[in-house]
Subunit: 623 residues, 2 copies
Amino acid sequence: MSPKITTELLKQLRQVMKNPKHVQEPVQAYIVPSGDAHQSEYIAPCDCRRAFISGFDGSAGTAIITEQHAAMWTDGRYFLQAAQQMDNNWTLMKMGLKDTPTQEDWLVSVLPEGSKVGVDPFIIPADQWKRMSKVLRSAGHDLVPVKENLIDTIWTDCPQRPCKPLIMLDLSYTGVSWRDKIVALRSKMAERKVMWFVVTALDEVAWLFNLRGSDVEYNPVFFAYAVIGMNTIRLFIDGDRMTDPAVREHLQLDSTLEPEFKIQVMPYGSILSELQAVGAGLSPKEKVWLSDKASYALTEAIPKAYRYLTPYTPICIAKAVKNASETEGMRRAHIKDAVALCELFNWLEKEVPKGTVTEIIAADKAEEFRSQQKDFVELSFATISSTGPNGAIIHYKPVPETNRTLSVNEIYLLDSGAQYKDGTTDVTRTMHFGTPSAYEKECFTYVLKGHIAVSAAIFPNGTKGHLLDSFARSALWDCGLDYLHGTGHGVGSFLNVHEGPCGISYKTFADEPLEAGMIVSDEPGYYEDGSFGIRIENVVLVIPAETKYNFKNRGSLTFEPLTLVPIQTKMIDVNLLTQKECNWVNDYHQKCREVVGAELERQGRHEALRWLIRETEPLVRVQ
Amino acid sequence: MSPKITTELLKQLRQVMKNPKHVQEPVQAYIVPSGDAHQSEYIAPCDCRRAFISGFDGSAGTAIITEQHAAMWTDGRYFLQAAQQMDNNWTLMKMGLKDTPTQEDWLVSVLPEGSKVGVDPFIIPADQWKRMSKVLRSAGHDLVPVKENLIDTIWTDCPQRPCKPLIMLDLSYTGVSWRDKIVALRSKMAERKVMWFVVTALDEVAWLFNLRGSDVEYNPVFFAYAVIGMNTIRLFIDGDRMTDPAVREHLQLDSTLEPEFKIQVMPYGSILSELQAVGAGLSPKEKVWLSDKASYALTEAIPKAYRYLTPYTPICIAKAVKNASETEGMRRAHIKDAVALCELFNWLEKEVPKGTVTEIIAADKAEEFRSQQKDFVELSFATISSTGPNGAIIHYKPVPETNRTLSVNEIYLLDSGAQYKDGTTDVTRTMHFGTPSAYEKECFTYVLKGHIAVSAAIFPNGTKGHLLDSFARSALWDCGLDYLHGTGHGVGSFLNVHEGPCGISYKTFADEPLEAGMIVSDEPGYYEDGSFGIRIENVVLVIPAETKYNFKNRGSLTFEPLTLVPIQTKMIDVNLLTQKECNWVNDYHQKCREVVGAELERQGRHEALRWLIRETEPLVRVQ
């Protein structure tokens, strides 16, 4: 990787920072955050402004440019990559290290008195604006919204905002019509006494209208906003997508509908002025509900006294609890995904010893097998295909410079998933195609014990996922080991592979309680820098649990694995398992054999079926 | 319990709320919080203002009196008691129930426009003031500080503020001189670039100066504040306590000292004016460090730009990590405490079958045995001595109206502890003096499994206690059971039995990481309303753990029980224990037998020794 030369770009940016054509008054600093106007985790090429100005294209980072300096804040995952991708115009600010200043403190230390700090008000979330603005103001500076994005003014070959065709999901996939979702949303609004709800997250718009898109890679979403009133529905969306007769029919745009279900389609770019009009016309006590992560621009459109901000929106919470149709879809998607992986691992077992399979080839082969499955749309994230020391890089993605050949001497870690029209998958398996060492087996077995401890956990209704995180670590902790990431994240239903408001992590306290129908990943790991990485990940469904007693009538929950891919028994030190853990593995493998076996049979994939049967032989524990 | 008649008192209070002699301008509402000026958990009789005005004397509750209404907010522990103790002038506001308004929302709903809400600025913590004041202001009202406490103006027979003699602790107890504590504190202040530190919590003042008092029951503290500068030490304390030659010698008040260690003694009541003088004399960048729980009055004395507020003070954190002398003292105290409890349980075993032992008699007997031990000072909290259904009331304290006789047919729960000059104890044992039912044994064994899971847990350095809470519940959860309180709290060293900043609870996220030398309780339970209560509590010391590996060189921690009192094996269903858990019990009992046995022997308590030996017979698990 050679760094991007940014001298000329920075010069141009510093000019527009003073140019009255672009800024009301000169700004002495300009902030370029990572995100887009919807606070998406994955963004479209046209929104990769921070990568454009700096060269650093990791998933997290904030650039700040002043007259004299250009600085980049990013976290431990990206220290090396950022250092390699940026030229020496840039200072790397390593977040999480003790001596690294916060963005605000750094600004205060370098800016001349009474400076203006500019930022695109559509990109910065309102809560972050509030925090920064407070610190800057108390030091005599001002955070100011710059309406025109200054990067866009100098980005001459900026790609166009994608505007791809929409996919309509019928009731057999969604279980609930968009009309009924609107009715449910309005009843939540009535409960909280709000008159308007502003949908800003892309997956929330997609979920609400039972539509999907492909404007952002890996995430089946499309650029749009929506504003839902008690009697109106406004959808802000661009392009000729609304001229597609199938879309018009799906949204009943041409039907005679009760007025409260009539969707008004408006240009994507008109959201701000429309919202300002809503804000200006509010009567006392008419509140407007927004996510507290919505952009500063949209939040400011509503006068402060009328705002109702929550960390999780009612759509986010409703979307997380999958209904029967969604759950069935997720099950089907996971069976198809398991078929693809059985094919892949069977193929790898034969090919790896020849020394011709690289990480990239293996990843491509996984995609090939997945794409053969019904309703396959695309991958759900960039495949992590890593062998040996690359496995210890938690967010590794093979590129030609790092591409390593799989061998019978190293552990192989594959973390991959796909979007099918009926569901989203995300699975990690760690395999050895030769003979693993006793130490590798020992570590694998501790990770497996952690995986089982979460998967088999029984816990009361109302428990938050973060309370389960330590179960995943206990076996590792006992031996002085650990892993430095959370244990699980929410998973969308043919939507984003990472979604709120639930998860399993020691890092948060603000997650919503788990409830039956929620879907999360269970993915403990162990990573030895320079040697290997181990992770075992299933996507699991929260289901009611039968218990002997029922304290305060609260009811209990547990998990059902949706992922049905064998866990390599060769890697397990059976004598480190309890009988209960051993039974869990055998029951799990029995289910893989039955359910995925039947599908392999149906698809006539006999070699992969034989592989599955071999890999699901019961473990026997020596007492 | 008959309610207190408050009609006349409320009339008087409403008069002073309008009387210009007492208020600058009339207040339409007056708030009476629970606490004292130091935000203490336990308060002196002169600070029980809420109990005086309402009759309700539970440990938590806030009264608000308006022209028309008198309302009391309290939590689930006290719904019944508050309803019984208050007359019908009062409305009970049941906190935690869905329909109960917050104090702010209720005020907004009942007050006439533009009202003033008064509160004693010394009693309300600054963070709470901020929250309330914001809501009231946005509704057009004002929260105003009323300098004179209005309850005190009508409380004609208010007891005097206690001013009892001080106890001096020498180095053999504290391990560190007050001088060295000041040096360490100043170095923390220098690190954070603050010039002043204000000590507002009573246990922090006591710890800093190696002094103890008895102004508040159960907590060996005395009324005082301190303000530590980089070159000055001011101690605000009343009475003739500073004329005691031993105290003068301990604090070196008459010695020729370097000026920065010279303690200026000032009247307790002068803290505000002195702090205002400090605040007025600050140069730019001279910060003053306060707890964010300090009173509004003291916080306001420092101009906002100069305040440095943290949830935990450096004293709170230093105090939590016990040094070798303190740890040794705690060990000694726990051995003596165990001697007293062996005597008690031996006595109960003989006396209970006679049907003459009540909960109060048992509690008194426990105190009697404890008071025979060296360096005994007082109890560390009101003894919870409860049998049968009373055991299910988590914060039960026997009173004549509820006093129940112990029998061979009911479970007995004793949660008790003492202050010794060398340490503080807190232990719960649950016993049956007849034959427990299979169900009682089953529940007891789940609680024991939870207790062991925490006590034997190994976890990385830097782990926060709340991450261990679920370990204590896992065995109960598996059967659909749970308990509705946290698992552990920090314990002081001859100081408050509840102290921050560490603990083991699902309820908090803001606890400080556990480190070697910290002391917490481990006390899971199970409570069946109307039937019985079970709790098993040891005080445990955080110690380094030896592990097979050492990930990232972080090191690991575990717990060593300081409490050494047998856990009744009669209550254990051995077949529900794993071999590892069984070994834990046997090792623990072996240690009780050796360590406490030696002390019983030394004290010539042969009958109690025989009881101990009987009660520590190893468990045998049938495979």
